[in-house]
């Protein structure tokens, strides 16, 4: 194991997959000469050339569709959408073509593309650069959605996603690219389905994904230290399909559930996990599950207001305290 930064892990996965298969290409705005807005393709333009590391025009739907068409002929495009806010413009091709072409062709065609995109709320980027779009992507049949919470996952997921024959959307976080973490030195492929136990506990399960895993872990430490509550943290690194078994197993042990999401509550990961709890293990629950979500507002520029709109570890601690009455 070595400690590297998140962006270095993503870059390494790109590099290895480009070296492994000549049909792998990278497309996106500023991925080439610049090396990616978050350095995910730094130096790869010089190594693999402009035919494979392609600086695209600012035409999200166009280049996503182009990548999908190329994938029909065996090309394996990794498409970087500079910010998830811009992925709205590519949804036509992602949803109407990539997610449906296998089905509506009766299995004749597939679109093995990877779309990676940084999202989430960074610092004071304002309403139009603070989207959290995982809830939209995870509702579409035919699309896989994964979201890494650390460099190991980011590296291994991208590698598996490139080789998988389904379209995969990888939801990254703008604040996490400089996060350090251990990544195996040997080649590693992370699964595209499932969840991970990020912390063992017996009293309550905190469900997180991507950045909210870290809020859950921080809250678990505070709860253990200050309130004698041992929380289990489940990292839902796959948002589609959600890991029903992992969700059921943990709550069958702890009997209590809190879902922590960076997004607005409506039609989100929390809502979906609650539905799964109802369907899978309703009678295991000692109390009603709770969501900790962002406020239902466009994200404000003002720093204090932005902080208020967003959940954090303290909000998670408060939710658990209310649940236990401590």
């Amino acid at each position: 194991m070595t400690e590297i930064m998140f962006w270095e892990a993503v870059r390494r996965a790109h590099d290895e997959e480009l070296a492994h298969d000549k049909m792998v290409i990278v497309m996106g705005e500023d991925v080439g000469v610049v090396g990616g807005t978050y350095k995910a393709t730094l130096g790869l333009y010089d190594k693999y050339g402009q035919e494979r590391i392609i600086d695209t025009p600012i035409s999200e739907n166009g280049y996503t569709g182009l990548g999908i068409g190329a994938s029909f002929l065996g090309v394996r495009p990794i498409i970087e959408i500079m910010s998830v806010n811009f992925a709205w413009l590519a949804m036509d091709q992602l949803f109407n073509t990539a997610a449906k072409v296998r089905y509506m062709s009766g299995g004749q065609l597939e679109a093995p593309i990877v779309v990676r995109s940084p999202g989430g709320i960074a610092h004071q980027l304002g309403s139009q650069h603070s989207a959290r779009m995982e809830k939209v992507f995870m509702g579409i049949a035919g699309l896989r959605v994964v979201t890494p919470s650390n460099p190991r996952q980011a590296y291994g997921m991208l590698k598996s996603a490139v080789r998988c024959n389904d379209p995969v959307f990888i939801n990254e976080h703008e604040l996490m690219y400089n996060m350090k973490g251990e990544v195996p030195e040997e080649e590693y492929f992370h699964p595209l389905e499932g969840s991970e136990v990020a912390r063992q506990g017996r009293d309550v399960t905190l469900f997180g994904y991507n950045i909210s895993v870290h809020w859950c872990l921080e809250a678990a430490e505070l709860l253990s230290k200050n309130h004698g509550v041992e929380a289990e943290v489940i990292d839902l690194f796959t948002l589609s399909p959600l890991d029903r078994e992992g969700i059921r197993n943990s709550v069958t042990k702890t009997h209590r559930a809190v879902i922590v999401e960076e997004a607005e509550p409506a039609v989100g990961v929390g809502a979906e996990v609650m539905a799964i709890l109802n369907e899978e293990c309703f009678f295991e629950l000692d109390t009603a599950p709770v969501r900790v979500s962002a406020l239902n507002v466009p994200i404000p520029y003002n720093h204090a207001m932005e902080k208020t709109a967003l959940p954090d570890a303290n909000d998670v601690v408060e939710a658990v305290r209310r649940m236990f009455g401590v």
């Binding site: 392609i54 068409g69 029909f72 065609l109 598996s160 389904d166």
Partner: protein
């Protein structure tokens, strides 16, 4: 054009006409459901262009008005009809329907229902060809109204920028459903709109299959020789409503009469008769043969085929047993 080729094209276009007319009846009989967009009036476009292309290597993609392009590109008409009848033996196993005819074995890369959706897909297919190093080309047929989508401009820009081997064919039937082109589009001549991307283009009579063929030969020579994209606009007309649910009340009778005098099938028939290469009786015999074939082979096959198993409704959503979902290794 050789006489034999002309005769074969007449047979193919007449077959296309009769096939689509039979679809109309089957829809009225409720054997075909959903949206059904028919091609009568526009036959010379697909046949002229694809006659000039190479059926053994080139790729074709189009919109929802797709039956005839697929058949001209090698799809078995029986399987196309079976698809319309929602049968397991259909080209897309009954999952696609009229708007989603796929025949990938013959490089017919599908019919798509989002107006303008295939523009970037065709450019992507051309990118795939370019990466593999072949001299095949990607051919995209779309309507006139599709050119008002952003994908039109995005795709033309990328196709030119990266010198992609793609031929865009605009079947200009003057309408997007009920909106006449001059009411939706600032520049009515579509071939002029691509000049902003420095892409060569040409406008041709889309009712005369020989002229279409000639124009397509020139266009395809350009694309195949590595000179990048080309845009071919074909002036045409659809004789029926936009789809079966269209009242078709928005067009002037005089306009319809004018275009019915330029029927691509009749024009070619009359030419062959005038040239002394065919008699009116020959044509009648050809028609009878086609009608018999459609009834006895095409419709019979579709009617007698089984429906898909309901138990398979969740198949083809995702790849089956893809090892990378588990992080690689043995299953």
């Amino acid at each position: 054009m050789k006489i034999d080729t002309k005769k074969r094209l007449l047979r193919e276009m007449l077959f296309a006409r009769r096939f689509e007319e039979r679809c109309y009846e089957a829809y009225v009989e409720r054997n075909i459901g959903g949206f059904l967009h028919l091609y009568p009036g526009e036959e010379a476009c697909a046949h002229g262009v694809l006659e000039a292309a190479d059926a053994d290597r080139d790729y074709v993609i189009t919109s929802y008005r797709d039956h005839i392009h697929a058949i001209k590109w090698g799809a078995d008409p029986r399987k196309v009809m079976a698809e319309l009848y929602a049968k397991e033996t259909g080209v897309s196993k009954g999952r696609g329907g009229s708007m989603h005819i796929f025949d990938v074995r013959n490089r017919f890369m599908g019919g798509y229902a989002l107006v303008g959706g295939p523009f970037p897909l065709a450019a992507g297919i051309a990118k795939g060809i370019q990466m593999r190093g072949g001299d095949e080309i990607s051919i995209c047929f779309l309507g006139d109204a599709a050119n008002n989508q952003g994908t039109f401009h995005e795709s033309l820009n990328m196709a030119k920028l990266w010198n992609l081997p793609v031929l865009y064919v605009c079947e200009n039937n003057h309408y997007g459903i009920g909106t006449r082109i001059d009411r939706s589009t600032a520049v009515v001549d579509q071939y002029k709109r691509v000049s902003g991307y420095d892409i060569p283009s040409h406008q041709e009579d889309g009712q005369d299959v020989e002229l279409v063929y000639k124009a397509a030969m020139k266009a395809i020579r350009h694309v195949r020789s590595g000179k990048g994209p080309y845009f071919l606009e074909l002036m045409t007309y659809r004789y029926r409503g936009h789809s079966m649910s269209d009242s078709n009340a928005y067009r002037a009778k005089a306009e319809e009469r004018m275009w019915s005098k330029r029927d691509p099938v009749i024009m070619l028939r009359d030419r062959l008769i005038d040239e002394g290469n065919m008699t009116a009786d020959d044509f009648k015999d050809m028609d009878t043969e086609i009608l018999d074939y459609i009834e006895n082979e095409v419709i019979a096959f579709a009617e007698q085929s089984p429906e898909p198993h309901i138990s398979e409704v969740e198949r083809y959503v995702l790849a089956e047993n893809d090892p990378w979902v588990r992080g690689g290794g043995a299953p």
